[in-house]
Symmetry: C2
Subunit: 337 residues, 2 copies
Amino acid sequence: MTALTLRTPYLLFVGSETEPIYAKTAAGLAQWAPEKCMGQLGLPGGTIDLGLPKHDVATAAAAGAKSLVVGTSAVGGAIPAEWMPTLLNALLHGMDIVAGVHTKLNDIPELVAAANESGARLVDVRVPPKDIPVGSGKKRTGKRLLTVGTDCALGKKYTALAISNRMVERGFSADFRASGQTGIMIAGSGIPIDAVVADFLSGAAEMISPNADQDHWDVIEGQGSLFHPGYSSVSTGLLVGSQPDAFVVCTEALRTHIKGWPDFELPSIQAVIDRTIDLAKVVNPNIHCVGISVNTSPLPEHERAAYLENLSSLYGLPTMDPLQSGVDAVIDKMTNA
Amino acid sequence: MTALTLRTPYLLFVGSETEPIYAKTAAGLAQWAPEKCMGQLGLPGGTIDLGLPKHDVATAAAAGAKSLVVGTSAVGGAIPAEWMPTLLNALLHGMDIVAGVHTKLNDIPELVAAANESGARLVDVRVPPKDIPVGSGKKRTGKRLLTVGTDCALGKKYTALAISNRMVERGFSADFRASGQTGIMIAGSGIPIDAVVADFLSGAAEMISPNADQDHWDVIEGQGSLFHPGYSSVSTGLLVGSQPDAFVVCTEALRTHIKGWPDFELPSIQAVIDRTIDLAKVVNPNIHCVGISVNTSPLPEHERAAYLENLSSLYGLPTMDPLQSGVDAVIDKMTNA
């Protein structure tokens, strides 16, 4: 009964991909977990360049690669036939295969047979571990920050990564804790919270951030939104199980409605703050908001700084775009509180 | 993509059980769905009497029984070997087997083979249907009432059953809608909401109570509690997907803490009312509380009426114990609103 744990370093597999948008898993890993990425491997015709050394399976294995990570997605989330010789070869060299695509590695008999033979693992990061317990609600040691959102897809993962990376740079004890598939690959462990059966959601969230030293911070990747008509239960379970001491509200400039749900207005930042505290105070009465993180990319560049300053004075909170500006003010607020 | 639907009438199987507590599924069916229960079948040594005609498989099949329902639970939720000849015989007679015990019927090769041969079905009511969509949040036609709770196991199912049955008696168009395994057997259809994968929780709740005539009421069985440290996400998804017009708060006299979570105080009825409205108003701005349902059995009998009257004047709402008193006041309030 543990979270998924991946073996590193990774060899990033990008197939014969030519469009960077489809190789965004590989690009995210190269950006956020460069220390885990020993190289990349493509197929003839591919043009993706992650800025990493290029290896074939044999040289990667000889150089210590422990997992081949599928870093691109094919049409329909399949495992194309042209990938199979590479995947089988990696297994024969003892490397795990790690993938988060729709088709499960463990449903492909050829791969299962090769993995059984070599002792390597097929790791489907979309599949949660078995035997997750029901949430206990018991207070755990250590400190936790959770990123929450006004909606999906507006920077909860990147905000958590930016904060945890910067905390480590500044000498704090901190870990990024992943709740989604790309985050799991970046962190090397975690649970895909949206794939967990309902009864065990907050239990899974409790597993993601276990007991830790009193001054240690787990910086937890949020999911969805408490106001989302489809996913609010995921966000609720993650919040209650995370029992955060601090949270950052993530939003996107100019977004007015829930993405893909045009009948639902985006909640206000204040509404998100209030509900987050309301739902979580039963598991952590000290919970408080320490900042606002905004994806300002929809704004013209010259308007972004003023937009952030305006929000900051409106809410009296540190406000930043984690891809544009620093996160030090948030870290100061969470660690001085 | 539909909710589970069971074939009726049922033959209730109680094995060789002698303790009524273990046959509570059968007893609940005989009490709440007598029109669906054509008889009972026991094994030698059993003493359970549900007040139904006693049949063997052949006479039940000849009399039209369409499903043999496992109405008792054995140690560990297993299917004991002594049940197998009866189950196989029912399948050979074309009857479905329906069970909600821990061991899945579909994991027992002998049963699967017999079902394939006869064309009968093995229905594990703990297993949700595949291909549940993400919740849309779209307003559906018809009216809905949801029972919500201060905690688990304090009468949400029975309250919903009492209300829907009495509504039908009084000539209203109403259906009981089930979200748990016993409820599904009673209703003949439904989805075990706590077994649904997190991303699809509110979508499952939307399937449970589909579009209906404008004056029709779906009376939906609630699950868990919005304040529960383990199960609040289940309750949240069910609430948001149900988009109820009306709700009844269910509680138990003298209960002070969440059952099994002694560190968590029971929320107040007012707190449950407030949070229920707060979370659901985005999908139904008309949501309102129409009553309080109390399991008064922990009180001495002579104190129960005064307890209910006191609550009623405190909250200004109809208040009842659905197993002791009538539910007409709640029905009047929901249908006159």
